[in-house]
C-alpha cells in the first residue's frame, strides 16, 4: 500500500485518491453463444479512471448518460465493487473492503441521488427518515429513550440548517406532502446528518425546476463552506457544474478525457468532446442563436469499444492516427448504401452490407477475382465521401486471398498530456 503522509487540516490535504479505477459489468449472453464465442462480453462502464479530491473542494464529473460517471460515484462510496484499481479514502484502499468496513465507511461518505421522490420512503415521516442514519449508526450503550430525544434535537437542527422550515411541523409530514425542492432538502439533511467528509451528488438538481435549482446549489455551497465538506458532483450539465465546481473532469465512454481547474477548462476547452459539450449549452437569448459543433451520431456501446481514442468515430477534429478501424468503414458503407441518392448501383456491385465483415483494422467481403477491381474502385470512391482523416488512415485496399479487403494503419498510442494545469487525453496535444 502507498504510504501517504497525514497532512492534518492544512489546505491541500487529500481526502480521496482514485487510481486506475475499473468497473466492468458482465453481459448476459445465451449459453450456446457463450460456448461458441469462448470470450466474455463485458460492459466497460469505467475503464481506467484516476483523480484526486482535496478536502473541501467540489469536483464535477461531467458527461452524457452511459459515460460511466454514475458508476464512478457508486464505486467511490462502495455501492458496487470495482473490478480493478484503487479507491483510497483517507489513506485506506477501500476498493475491496467488505460488509462491516463498508458500513462504518458510510459515516464518512454519503451519496445523494437524482430523484428525491424515489429516495424517500413514502411511508416514513420526514423527521424519521432524516434521523434514520443516526439510528443505524447509534452506539449500543445508549438507552433508547435518551437516543430518541437526542436524535430528534439533532434532526430538527439539521432541518433548520438545510432550510426545511418550519421544522417542527414538517417533522411529522410524509414525503408526499412536500414539494420537490423540500424533498431534495430532506434528502440532503439525511445525507449530512452523520457529518460525512465526502458527499457524492449524483445529478442532485437535474429533476428540479430551474426556479428552485439555484436554492439547492446555494445550500450545497453553504454546507461546503461551513463544514469543509468535499463533493463529487456528478452531472451532465456543464453550466451548473461551472457554477459550483472547483475542478472538472469530463468523461466519455468510461474514461476521463479532460480534467483540470474549472476556470481553465471553461475559458479554453482542449478536448474536442469538451468543446462539443460546451457548444450545445443553450444561450438564453433568442438574438444570439449560435453555431454548434455537433458530434456525429450517438455514444457507441461500451461492450465493443472503438479502437484508439473512443471519441474518434464522432470527433469533429479527428486525425488519421486516432484509431480508424474496419467497422468505421462498415458504418460509412452502411450510410452510403442507405441513401438512395448516393448508392446508385453500388448495392449490386458491393453487395448488401450483411456480406461484409470487420475484424480489427480490416474490413472486407468474399469475392471472386473477376469483381475485385470493380469493388476496389467503388471502395475508394465511397471512402472519398468519408472524413478526410479516415482516407489518410487507409493502408491497403485490394484482393487478399478470396476477400477484397480494406486495411487501416494502426492508431498512435494515446497518452495523458499535461496542458497548462489540466490533463487531456487527445492526440492533438501529444508531441
Amino acid at each position: 500500500m502507498i504510504e501517504l503522509t497525514q497532512s492534518g487540516d492544512t489546505e491541500s490535504s487529500e481526502i480521496l485518491r482514485v487510481e486506475n479505477l475499473q468497473v466492468h459489468f458482465p453481459v448476459k449472453i445465451p449459453l450456446l453463444q457463450r460456448i461458441v464465442q469462448r470470450e466474455k462480453a463485458v460492459v466497460h462502464a469505467v475503464d481506467g479512471v484516476s483523480f484526486v479530491l482535496q478536502t473541501g473542494e467540489i469536483m464535477g464529473l461531467v458527461g452524457e448518460s452511459g459515460c460511466g460517471k454514475t458508476t464512478v460515484g457508486r464505486a467511490v462510496v462502495r455501492l458496487i465493487e470495482p473490478t480493478g484499481g484503487k479507491v483510497i479514502f483517507e489513506d485506506r484502499n477501500i476498493a475491496k473492503a467488505k460488509g462491516g468496513t463498508i458500513r462504518a465507511l458510510r459515516r464518512e461518505m454519503q451519496i445523494i441521488f437524482q430523484d428525491p421522490h424515489a429516495s424517500l420512503n413514502p411511508a416514513m415521516r420526514i423527521g424519521d427518515a432524516i434521523g434514520h442514519p443516526l439510528w443505524i449508526h447509534r452506539s449500543g450503550s445508549q438507552s433508547r429513550a435518551s437516543f430518541r430525544r437526542e436524535a430528534r434535537e439533532n434532526v430538527l437542527s439539521m432541518m433548520r440548517e438545510v432550510g426545511l422550515t418550519p421544522e417542527e411541523q414538517l417533522y411529522d409530514k410524509y414525503p408526499g406532502d412536500l414539494s420537490g425542492g423540500q424533498k431534495q432538502r430532506a434528502v440532503i439533511a439525511r445525507a449530512i446528518i452523520l457529518e460525512p467528509k465526502l458527499l457524492v451528488v449524483d445529478e442532485g438538481v437535474a429533476m428540479l425546476d430551474m426556479s428552485i435549482r439555484a436554492k439547492i446549489l446555494e445550500l450545497m455551497l453553504d454546507l461546503k463552506r461551513k463544514h469543509a465538506m468535499t463533493y463529487l458532483f456528478i452531472t451532465h450539465d456543464l453550466a451548473t457544474a461551472k457554477f459550483i465546481c472547483d475542478r472538472i473532469a469530463i468523461m466519455y465512454l468510461g474514461r476521463i478525457v479532460e480534467i483540470g481547474p474549472s476556470k481553465e477548462i471553461y475559458a479554453d476547452p482542449k478536448h474536442p468532446y469538451t468543446k462539443a459539450l460546451l457548444s450545445v449549452i443553450p444561450v438564453p437569448d433568442p438574438d444570439k442563436r449560435k453555431e454548434k459543433i455537433l458530434p456525429r451520431g450517438e455514444v457507441p456501446d461500451a461492450v465493443n469499444l472503438p479502437l484508439g481514442c473512443r471519441f474518434h468515430p464522432r470527433c469533429p477534429a479527428v486525425l488519421s492516427s486516432c484509431g480508424w478501424e474496419g467497422r468505421d468503414f462498415l458504418d460509412l458503407l452502411d450510410e452510403h448504401l442507405s441513401d438512395p441518392k448516393r448508392a446508385g448501383a453500388d448495392e449490386t456491385i458491393l453487395g448488401p452490407i450483411e456480406d461484409w465483415w470487420a475484424k480489427g483494422l480490416v474490413a472486407g467481403r468474399k469475392t471472386g477475382p473477376a469483381d475485385a477491381a470493380k469493388i476496389t474502385e467503388r471502395i475508394r470512391a465511397i471512402l472519398a465521401e468519408g472524413p478526410a482523416a479516415m482516407v489518410q488512415a487507409v493502408g491497403t485496399v485490394g484482393l487478399q486471398g478470396k476477400n477484397v479487403i480494406i486495411e487501416f494503419r494502426g492508431p498512435d498510442t494515446l497518452a495523458q498530456t499535461q496542458v497548462g494545469e489540466r490533463i487531456v487525453e487527445c492526440l492533438l496535444y501529444q508531441n
Binding site: E64, S65, S179, G180, G181, Q182, D209, M210, S211, I212, R213, A214, K215, L217, E218, H236, D237, L238, A239, T240, K242, F243, Y266, A276, L277, L278, V280, I281, P282, V283, P284, D285, P286, D287, R289, K292, L294, P295, E298, V299, D334, S338, I353
Partner: protein
C-alpha cells in the same frame, strides 16, 4: 382569414377528493401557421394540460370550458369519431418519454402501418414504404424497421417518435418536453431536426417545456403560464429582453448558463390550485407585490404591440 389555432377563454378543471383543481383558467392564445410557440412554466402550471386539451386526450370527467378553434372547428365540441380522425392527421403530439410511448411488443414498422391505415385507405405495402421513407428522413436505416423499440437508443427512439408523429404530415405538432429525458448533445440534434422539419413542411410547432434555454433557441413566440393562468405572451425577443411579468423575470434570472455570475431563484413554491391565492396568483412570491395585487386580479393587457402581460405594474418594466 381564419386563425390557424385560436384558444378562447379556455378553462380546464380536474375534480379531486379535496375539490376542483383549476389547471387552466381563462387562457386566450392564438397561433398562426408555420409558427413556433413556446409554452413555459414550472411543474404543475398547466402547460401539459394545455397540450392535452388541444388534442382532446384529457382524462374523462375533466371539466372543459371555452373554445379551441383549429382552422375554424371548435375542438372541444367535436364528436369522438371526428376528433379521432383529426388526431395524428392534423395535430400530432410527441411526449417526453419515448420509451413508454412505443409499444415494446410491436415492431417499429407496425407502429407506422397501424397509424397510417387508421387514417388513410392505402394498401399495407404503401403504408410500409411510407414508414421506410419517414424513418429514413430521420436518419434511421430501413434495415432496422423490423426491430423492436428496446433495440434503439434513447435518441433514436425519440427520432422514431418524431417520424411517427410526422408520417401523416400534420399541420400542428405539439411537443411536450421532447428532449427532457435526453442527453445534451442528442437534445441539440433533436432540436435541429425539429427546426429542419419546420422549414421543410411549414409546420406549426408548439413546444411545451420548462427549459427557457431551448425556447430561446427555437421559438418565435413565448407564452408563460403560472398556476393555470397565462401571465405573459410575446415574441421571443421581447419576452427575453424585456420581460414584463415579475414571474417571467424570475424564470429568466434562474436560468443557469455559462455566463451566469450569480444564482437566482424564485422564493416560495407554486400555489395549491384547489384554493389559489386571491388577486394576482403570483403575489405571495412576487418581490414587487402591493395591496392591489392581493385584492384585484390583473387582466392580460397589451403593453406593446404583440406583447401582453397580466401584471398591474407591467408598464413600469417597459
Amino acid at each position: 382569414m381564419e386563425t390557424f389555432l385560436k384558444i378562447d377563454d379556455l378553462s380546464v378543471g380536474y375534480w379531486t377528493r379535496r375539490g376542483k383543481v383549476g389547471a387552466l383558467v381563462g387562457i386566450r392564445l392564438e397561433m398562426s401557421e408555420g409558427e413556433t410557440l413556446g409554452i413555459v412554466g414550472e411543474t404543475g402550471c398547466g402547460k401539459s394540460t394545455l397540450g392535452k386539451a388541444i388534442l382532446g386526450i384529457l382524462p374523462p370527467l375533466t371539466e372543459i370550458q371555452g373554445h379551441i378553434f383549429f382552422r375554424g372547428r371548435d375542438l372541444p365540441r367535436l364528436g369522438l369519431e371526428e376528433y379521432r380522425r383529426l388526431r395524428a392527421k392534423e395535430i400530432a403530439l410527441i411526449f417526453q418519454d419515448p420509451m413508454t410511448r412505443l409499444n415494446p411488443l410491436m415492431r417499429i414498422e407496425n407502429h407506422f402501418v397501424e397509424e397510417i391505415l387508421a387514417h388513410e385507405s392505402v394498401s399495407k405495402a404503401e403504408a410500409r414504404s411510407r414508414a421506410r421513407e419517414a424513418l429514413l428522413s430521420m436518419g434511421i436505416h430501413e434495415s432496422r424497421i423490423r426491430n423492436y423499440p428496446h433495440e434503439f437508443s434513447g435518441g433514436m427512439r425519440q427520432r422514431i417518435m418524431i417520424a411517427l408523429a410526422l408520417v401523416l404530415k400534420p399541420s400542428l405538432l405539439i411537443a411536450d418536453e421532447p428532449t427532457t429525458s435526453l442527453d445534451v448533445i442528442v437534445e441539440s440534434q433533436i432540436l435541429e431536426i425539429l427546426q429542419d422539419l419546420k422549414r421543410v413542411y411549414h409546420m406549426s410547432l408548439q413546444l411545451i417545456t420548462h427549459n427557457m434555454g431551448i425556447v430561446a433557441e427555437i421559438c418565435d413566440r413565448v407564452a408563460v403560464l403560472y398556476a393555470g393562468k397565462l401571465v405573459e405572451l410575446g415574441s421571443a425577443h421581447d419576452v427575453f429582453h424585456k420581460p414584463l411579468h415579475p414571474y417571467t423575470q424570475g424564470l429568466l434570472a434562474s436560468i443557469i448558463h455559462l455566463d451566469t455570475k450569480e444564482l437566482h431563484s424564485i422564493e416560495g413554491s407554486p400555489p395549491d390550485l384547489i384554493s389559489p391565492p386571491s388577486g394576482c396568483r403570483f403575489h405571495p412570491r412576487c418581490p414587487y407585490a402591493q395591496q392591489i395585487c392581493v385584492e384585484k386580479e390583473p387582466p392580460l393587457v397589451e403593453f406593446q404591440k404583440g406583447h401582453l402581460a397580466a401584471c398591474h405594474f407591467g408598464d413600469t418594466f417597459l
